[in-house]
Symmetry: C2
C-alpha cells in the first residue's frame, strides 16, 4: 500500500513539472512533440529528414535524450537546427523535470516547434508525460507487425503513429496492413503515416501534419 | 541518501532471489541463458531456430517475458519445447523473484538448458540478474551499428553478442564491422556470432557454443 502511495506521489510530481513545461511552451507559442520508439527504429533519421523538409518553413528545435554519447545531437546539429543533448547516464526514459532544466538552453521565442527525442525504449517512456502537445510513436517494419499488441501503452497514449522503413517490407517478415490493424485495435484514434527516411516517402505528409498543428 | 539506500536494498533482494534460481539450476544440471534485446530484434525467431536445430540433441525449455499477449509462447510451443509465458502487465523487465515463481512449472530434471526471453528493452533488463549462467545480447542490423555505444550496459554484462538479420545488410545503413568494433570497445571479452534466422546462417555455430557450455 505504501508503495502505491509513493508511486502516486512520484507520478504527480512528474505531472506537475510536465504542466510547467506545457505552460512554458504555450506562452512562447512552441508546439512540442514527444517522439518515442524502440532503439534503432529511426528517430534520429526522422528528425534529420524533418529538419531538412521544414527548413525555411518553420523554426525547429530538438532535445535529444540518450543513455550515453552525443552522436545523435551531432547528427541533428549538422542540419542547422538548435539541438541539446540530455545524457541520462543509464536512466531508461526522460522525465519532465530534466526536460524543464534543459529548456533554458533554447531561445523559445524563436522556435515554432520542439521535438523531444526520448530514450530508445518501447516501455518506460510511455509512463512519463513531459508536457508535450502530441506524443508520436515510431515503429519500423523490421520490428514486426505484432509490436502494437505487445507494447500497447506506447500506442495507447500517442496521437500519431509513424511506420518507418517501409522500403524494407520486401525483405522482412512484416505486413504493414496487419501492423496498422493491430495499432488501431489498441488506439482507434491514431493518425498513421507510412514512411521511409531512406526514400523520403511519407516525410512531406508527416511534416504537413506537423505544420497543421502549429496553426491550432 | 535514503534513495540510494532503498535502491541498494532492492537490488540485493533481487540478487538473493537470483542466487536461489542459480542454485536450483545447478542442482538440476540446467544451463540458463538470459536473452536480452530491443523489441523486434528477433528473440523469438532465434529461439524457434535454436529449438529446431537442437531438437533430439538436448532438452530445451523456454521462459518468455512480455508486457502483454501470449503470442511468443504459442510460436515457440509449436516447435515442441516446454514453454511458459510471464505477462509482466507493464513491467519493463523480468526480475529474479518472478522467474523463480515460474520455475516450478518446469520439470527441471528433464531439462538441459533453459532460455529466458526477457522483455524487449535494451535498457532496464541489464540491471536485473536472474540467476543465469550466461547473458546473451541480441541486436539486429536494421537497428544501426552505433547501438553498443549508446546502450553500453546491455553489452558490458553479456558473455555473448548475437548480431541478427545479417541478410538485411545490403538494404540498411549498418556496417557489421563497425557494430563489432563498437561492441568490443564496450566489452572486449564478448563472444560474437553473426546470424540470420531467415537464412539459418550462424545458427549451427551459436547452437554449437550452447552445447559446449553444457559440458562445463
Amino acid at each position: 500500500m505504501s508503495t502505491i502511495e509513493i508511486k502516486d506521489k512520484l507520478l504527480s510530481k512528474n505531472d506537475q513539472n510536465a504542466l510547467a513545461n506545457r505552460n512554458l511552451f504555450d506562452r512562447h507559442g512552441v508546439w512540442c512533440v514527444n517522439l518515442i520508439s524502440a532503439p534503432g527504429s529511426g528517430k534520429t533519421s526522422l528528425i534529420e529528414s524533418t529538419a531538412d523538409h521544414l527548413s525555411g518553413r518553420l523554426n525547429l528545435g530538438v532535445l535529444v535524450g540518450d543513455l550515453e554519447t552525443e552522436n545523435d545531437a551531432n547528427r541533428i546539429a549538422a542540419h542547422g537546427v538548435p539541438v541539446r543533448q540530455i545524457i541520462t547516464g543509464g536512466a531508461c526514459h526522460l522525465n519532465a523535470r530534466t526536460v524543464g532544466d534543459f529548456l533554458v538552453h533554447f531561445d523559445l521565442e524563436r522556435l515554432d516547434a520542439l521535438i523531444i527525442e526520448n530514450v530508445g525504449n518501447l516501455v518506460c517512456p510511455a509512463s512519463y508525460y513531459l508536457g508535450e502537445h502530441d506524443r508520436v510513436s515510431l515503429i519500423s517494419t523490421p520490428e514486426g507487425d505484432d509490436k502494437p499488441l505487445k507494447y500497447p501503452a506506447m500506442f495507447r497514449n500517442a496521437s500519431v503513429l509513424l511506420i518507418n522503413k517501409i522500403d524494407l517490407v520486401p525483405y522482412v517478415n512484416c505486413s504493414v496492413d496487419t501492423m496498422v490493424r493491430n495499432a488501431m485495435t489498441v488506439n482507434p484514434k491514431l493518425k498513421i503515416f507510412k514512411m521511409s527516411c531512406t526514400t523520403n516517402e511519407g516525410i512531406p505528409e508527416w511534416c504537413g501534419w506537423l505544420e497543421e498543428q502549429l496553426k491550432k
